[in-house]
Structure formats: C-alpha cells, structure tokens
Symmetry: C2
Subunit: 519 residues, 2 copies
Amino acid sequence: MGPKTVKNAAGRLVPLEINGEPVIPFKGIGKHRPQGGKYSPPVPTCSDYPSDGNKVVKSLEVALRKCGLRSGMTISTHHHMRDGDLISNKIFEIASSMGVKNLVWFPSASFPCNDPVIKFLEDGTINRIEGSMNGPLGRFVSEGKMKGTAVLRSHGGRVQAIQDGEVKIDIAVMVAPTADPFGNAKGTGGKSSCGVIGYAKADSMYASRVIIVTDNLIDVPCYPMEIEGNYVDFVVVTDKIGIPEKIVSGTTQVTKSPDRLLIAELTASFLEKSGILRDGITMQAGAGGTSLAIAVFVSEILKNKGWKSKFGFGGSTKYMVEMLEEGQMGYILDAQAFDLDAVKSVENNPEHIPYPVFNAYNYHSKGNLTSMMDIMILGATEVDLNFNGNVVTHSDGYLLHGIGGWQNCLHARNVIIPVPLFRDRIPVIVDEVTTLCGPGELIDVIITERGIAINPLRKDLLKSIKGSGLPVRTIKELKEEAERICGKPQKPQFDEKIVAAIKWVDGTVLDVVRKLKTN
Amino acid sequence: MGPKTVKNAAGRLVPLEINGEPVIPFKGIGKHRPQGGKYSPPVPTCSDYPSDGNKVVKSLEVALRKCGLRSGMTISTHHHMRDGDLISNKIFEIASSMGVKNLVWFPSASFPCNDPVIKFLEDGTINRIEGSMNGPLGRFVSEGKMKGTAVLRSHGGRVQAIQDGEVKIDIAVMVAPTADPFGNAKGTGGKSSCGVIGYAKADSMYASRVIIVTDNLIDVPCYPMEIEGNYVDFVVVTDKIGIPEKIVSGTTQVTKSPDRLLIAELTASFLEKSGILRDGITMQAGAGGTSLAIAVFVSEILKNKGWKSKFGFGGSTKYMVEMLEEGQMGYILDAQAFDLDAVKSVENNPEHIPYPVFNAYNYHSKGNLTSMMDIMILGATEVDLNFNGNVVTHSDGYLLHGIGGWQNCLHARNVIIPVPLFRDRIPVIVDEVTTLCGPGELIDVIITERGIAINPLRKDLLKSIKGSGLPVRTIKELKEEAERICGKPQKPQFDEKIVAAIKWVDGTVLDVVRKLKTN
C-alpha cells in the first residue's frame, strides 16, 4: 500500500506529500511559479560573537554541541573532499554517541567513503539522506531500508531548495582547505587544497548555524572568501580534513575504449558539421572518459580553426586547463575541481575563476549560467523514445547515483548526450526511462556509436546537418538496433513503496523511485 | 505639538513611531536582541529572464518602468560616484515626469551634486530621504521642509536595516564602472573606475528589483563580481555614469594647518607611548586631513621600528596605498576608494581587496571587522563631558552630514577622536552633545591641540601612559579651557517637530534631530 499519488505533467505518478511535508507535482518546463519570499534565517547579532573575531573552538564535537545539535535536525555538508572526505561520517559518529536521532543528512553529494553512514541509518541516528546516493547507499535505499524517503535534487535544485526554505539547514558543517579564525574560507591553500568550494555558498548563507572545519588556519583575511566569516558560528581546526590523493579521484581520464572514442569523434564531428561549434562558443562537458575525449577533439578543431571558446564551466579537469593555457578557452568558471591540474590552475591562474553553483545553476534566480551555454555534453543511464533521460537508476531499477548538475545543464542551447547503444548487453535507449530525470523536450541530440538521433523538435539541427554524411537515424531505429543485438531487457519489478523522490529544478516532483521487489 | 516620545537608555527623548512605522528606542550597547528572521525578498524564477543572459534594456526609464516604478516605492542608490554622481538625480527626474509621488530615497550617502533633488522633495516626488544629507539638503531638513522624517543610519546600520527588512528596497539602481549583460558588476575598469562598489552588495541581495547602470559593458564574465548578476533584473548602458574628476574628491590631502598637525603628532605619540601601537596591529583612519596626517606619522613609526600593520580597512587613500606598497601594511580591505591612487591600487594589487560594508560593518551579523580593529581614528562635530559623540549636527543645530561608518567603527578596541578644541571660535567639547550619535562608553580618547582626555573607563590606558610626559587632562579641563577662550556657546533653539531620527547600529533609535526655530 503506497501513498496517494497523482499524475504530474510528465505523466508520472507522484505523491502530494513526502516525509510528512506537502510537495508540488511537476507542472511542465518553466510552468511552476514560485510564491512568496526566500527563506529567512534567524537574524544574528555581533553581541553573541567574540569581538576579537576568533571563533575557534577545540573540536567538532564542541562546535556541534554549541550549535545545539539535537534530534530531528538537518545537517548539511559539501562534497569537495570527494572520496577523501574525513569529516562527514564523524558528524554522525558524534551525533550517535550523543544519542541524537532522526537527523536529515543533506550533502551536496556522497561518495563511497560515506558508506559507513549506513550504520547510522540503521541505528536511527539518521532518518534519511536528501542528496545523491551511490553504490551500497543506493542499494540500501532501493531495498527500502531507509526510514525516511530520499529526496534527490540537482545541484541547482539543492541550492533552490535551500534558498526557498524547502530545506531548512540547522547546522552546516563546511570543510575548508584554508580558513581564518573569523570563518572566512576558501578552497585553495594548505595540504588539502581542492581548488574551489563552490557548493558551500548557499549552505553558509541560509543555515542557522555554520561550522567551518579546516586543517589550514591562517590569519584574517583568508581571501578570496568563498565562504564569508559573517555567516560562520564556529571554526574547528583538525589534523586532516581529507585524504589528498582521494580528494581528486583518478578516474577523470580520457576513455581508451574504441567504441567510446568513436562516440566522441562522432560528437565532435556533429558539433562541427552542424555549425554549432564556432568561434566564441561556450561549452561544458563532464569529467567522464567520453566527455573528456570530446573536449580533446573539440579543442583540436578550435585550435585548427583559430577559434576560441569564450568560457567553459567546470567541474574542471586538466583538459580544460590545457585549453585555457593554450588559448582555446577564455575563462574557466568553476564550482569544482576534478583533478590536481585543475586545483593548481585555480591557485595560479586569474582566468580560472571560482563560480559557485548558487550563481551557475539556481533556477529560482534572475537567470543562470546554464541557459547561456551553447554546447552541453551530458551522460545518461537511459534515454527513451521521447528523448527523456534518466541518470539516477539503471535499467535494473537500482539507485545508482545522484543527479549532479545534469538537470540544470539541460537548459543549455544544445544538449547532447553521447551514450553507447548498450552497456553490459543492456540497451541504453529504451521505450520509457525507468526514472524520469529530464524531460525529452530539453534533450536535443543522442549520439551513439551506431548513429545520431536528433530530437524532432530541433528541425533546425536536422536541416543543418543534411548532406553532412553523418549517420543520422531516428531514436526508434537506434533502439531497435540495440534490441536486435541484446534482446529486449526485462523490466525491474517494483513494490508500491516510494523510496526516493526526484525533484525538478524548480522544486516540483518529477518522478519517484520505488522499492525493488526482492524475493 | 510633537509626537509621543519616551526616554531611551541614553536618556534621549525619542518617538515610538517614525514615518508611520513602529520603532524601538535604544536599549544600551549590545542590549537589543533581534527577533525573527532576515528579510525575505521575492523568489524569482529563471523563466522570467532571458535565457541568453542578456538583460540590457535601452534606457534607465525603460528599466524603471519594467521594474514597475510607482508612488510610495523605496529606491536605493550607492554613493561610489561621490560628487561625480550623474545617475541618482536622473531617477527622480524620470519619476517626476511619470507623475510618481512619495518615493523614499535610500542612498548610502548623498553629495552636493545631489542638491537638485530638493526640487523633487518640494514637488512631492520624494517623501523623504533615509540617508546622509549635507549642505543645502541638511538645511532643508533642519528647517522642517521635508515631508517625511529623515532616518540617519551608519553604513553598517543601513545594511542591517536592509538585511532585517526594516527598509524594504523596491528598486535598487546601482551604477557600476564595469558590468556584463547578465548584470555581474564591479568597481574597476572603464572610464569611471571607482575601485570598489562595496556599498552595493546588500542592496543587490535584498532589493525586489535591481538595475545596473554602466558605461563600460563587457562580455560575461565580469569578474570579480562585486554585484552578482543573479540578483540583477536589468542592465542599462549609458554614456557616462560619473564625472571622473569628481568621483574622487580632491579633499583627501594631509592637513597643512599647524594646529591640526600638532593634534596628529600628539595622536601618533599617544599611540606609541601608550603601547597601543605595536607590530601586527590593525588600524583604520578616515580620509580627513588630520586622520591622514596621523596615518603618515604612524607609518613613520612602523617603518622605523620595522613593524607592520596586519591590515587596514578602507576608505582607502594614497597614504594607505603607500603603506601597503612599502611594507608597513599587509592588506587593505576596502569598501570605498577615496582617491585615484587607491583606485589604481585596487585595480592592480591583489593585496588590496574589495571588502563590502555588509561584511565589515553589519552589527546583525556573526561578528564583523570593526570589533577586530586595534586602532580607530574618528572625527566628531562635538564630544561632551561623558565622551558622547556627535557627527551629524553642529552646535548651531543644523544637520551637517551623515553618520558614515562612524558608529560601526566605535566598536574597535581603541577609539580615538582627534579634534581641535574649537572650530570658528565654537568649542567642540560641550556639556552635552546636540545630537547623540555614539555613546561615550565606546569612545576612549579625545585628543586636542591642548591636551589629551582619556575616558575614565579606560583605567588601563591612564596607567599605561603615566610618566610619558603626554599632556593628559580631564575632559572637563579641556572643555573649560575652550570656554575660557571662546566663551560658552549659545544653544540652538528647536521646535518640537522631529525632522530626523538617528538609528543605532542595531536598528534602535538613539536620538532625534528637531526642527530649528527660525524667526
């Protein structure tokens, strides 16, 4: 027996209430108009803070106690330490030892290093996670073991939820590679430099209480202030906020797979022949192996033509840094560094600019960066005949990972999804996505190793590549080819129970993930 | 017949209502605890803004109309163009031509170039000014001619009022020397560079509508973003936002008056002999001739001793820039550049850092910069036997100028007011200040050409300079000496009518200015 659901504008059955709070079903792209004002955190007063500006306390536990940590609170963290994060789990260890229950963990993303929080989900310390869940955490949720319902938001949706007060953060615990005693903090410097901490801004502005945890305390002023000390309550100095070699994961390498390289080449060729690629374009590609290969091919074309991309938005990698340094890119605007070359570049290159997610991705803002981007290269676990995309579940129904900036990036002018026709003999193009993360009207082109499908809505693109010799096919043809090779995949069987909600960028509910039937 | 008043904690009679809104009488330093949350401006949505990020409209009038300018609105401006401001008056010309009435003008300061708004005060376009008023504007108010009651706030109090929603800005018109079409804006670059626009941040964050006016439109990204385009509705490109030679007033020169130089020397000597001056101090001095002379003397002492000031907070001048460049100062944190050397320094020196008033001065914040400062050199129009200070009226009762950052700066560790014993044969030290702007418990030392008075609360200072040979006297002795020379000044005669309220840094009402009796 599941909760009462209604069919939203995308035809998905979604509930009207999640975790006891009313929610709004998706109404269509750009159709939901926010009401009322931004969230209004408590007004602080200087009289409660040390006049010498020194907010250092002796441990994270002391800071959490001084923040009044108690059952039912919402605790936020950012993920800039990535798989080298040494602090998030500690928060819940402390909470558990204090007997605190039913917390909501609100990370900007979680990583395998966060799997130990499963025990705090099991013992009731944490009620639910509102944020991305990969691997064992995702499995835990998919099997219906989490007490509360997960809420998955895009990076921009997370910021929107904070700003609009859909999520009220009681305590934000923000690690910072460098900070001063007043709480001004940044992503560069010290032994745990991660380049930028662009996911932390909204949390610091709207949380009731903010704790900075650093292993590199410097004198005032820590500058540039990615986090402003005026929003910070306490500063904790610790030995180590992250494991440096894991802060930057080693996976951000150009693909070596011949199939993926073919997809990348085809994508670059499509960009060139369609006329999308031109001097002065703005472009964003992820850090996956195929995306990086595309970036390399595109960079070659730019170099050969003497063209320059105006700016790129990071997650930044060494490939973007090379484009910046060699003159194929004017600026990198960056919310997150994916590798050490990118970290070094932020430290040294004034044209590699920290640019918070709050500014780049928030849909409840007076415009944002994604809609200004010309070319957006994105991945997907599934796409369907209506060009709808899925990034959180695989065809077996398990929660795989979070939405990241994917939904936000769909607002770019040309959204291109290069994907293999099948993965492990499971087709990527399906009749209907298992979980709807992005409506097809925003997805322009699917590029596979066996052909390119252009969204019929983009008549201009269909026209512009006529006679180009590119292997254009309908999405149906691609799907049928995949099924000829792999067979039609079996659909996963779900229970009624909703284990996760998928929010759209405007805070409405786009879809849900249900508990997997296990027998 | 005046309004009902009560005696506040400073013993001043203040009303419980100003301009039809309830207000809170001053309760004592650090005694007022703010209730509730920060102001909650309307949630915007990207769907209302151009997806290509281009918010340029063809004129200020178009922008104001699109913002829905109408009677009764509150319009904010910043004062970084100083006496070269070409835009503020234009707003009210446009409003007047549209038949709009009863506006509230909420500038961060006004200058003589703004005197033409008197005609808009007279014709009903503007109901009142909440901000500083000098010269003819001050006279206009003092003579009871303004329809509404003026509200004078410190720079930090202005920001506090915005953040807390005491003042709800309908339209912020922010001029910017450089901006991009998305509305990202900064104080450097172009033909009207003013270095920083550190007074504009709170306005842009909390106003319902924000208009950027620039004469130097560049491509995205305009960086560093002192104003973030995510808060901006429209961008107006105009020929000229300011008269460059008047943006930076020529008055910021070291005094040549022998008396003032004596005060400056005595101040530097006091700082040295009292032990306040030491390696690593933080210091702030204004841009007046005496303050600048003090800065020069202090810089000499630092240089001779091989000491360095950790940082200084601007308003910055060429004297601070010299200290920075020659190694007597670590950083300049800066909300406002007072001269062209300072502007150039912000443009070129990474250790000259834009630092908004929002971060430096806001008392309803989790700490601020002023309380961290060791040495604060301030001016005053009057001080009294209880060390109370006045900066807005002169002994003749006329409103002279605004509070600036004066009240905020009173929170520094050592507040020193160097003043002449008399000006134009009118004593500066009086029995009781005409208008109370800062309670005496926050003012530590008064330094005149005829002696130094130390606040009896500062027993430590009295002790530390014992035997120093400095001419220490009681404030009463100084007052009596002034009266021996000049005679006892006649007190101004006031009507009951309140023409201006003086807010304290926490939003409570510290004092009022009454209409002058004119016959």
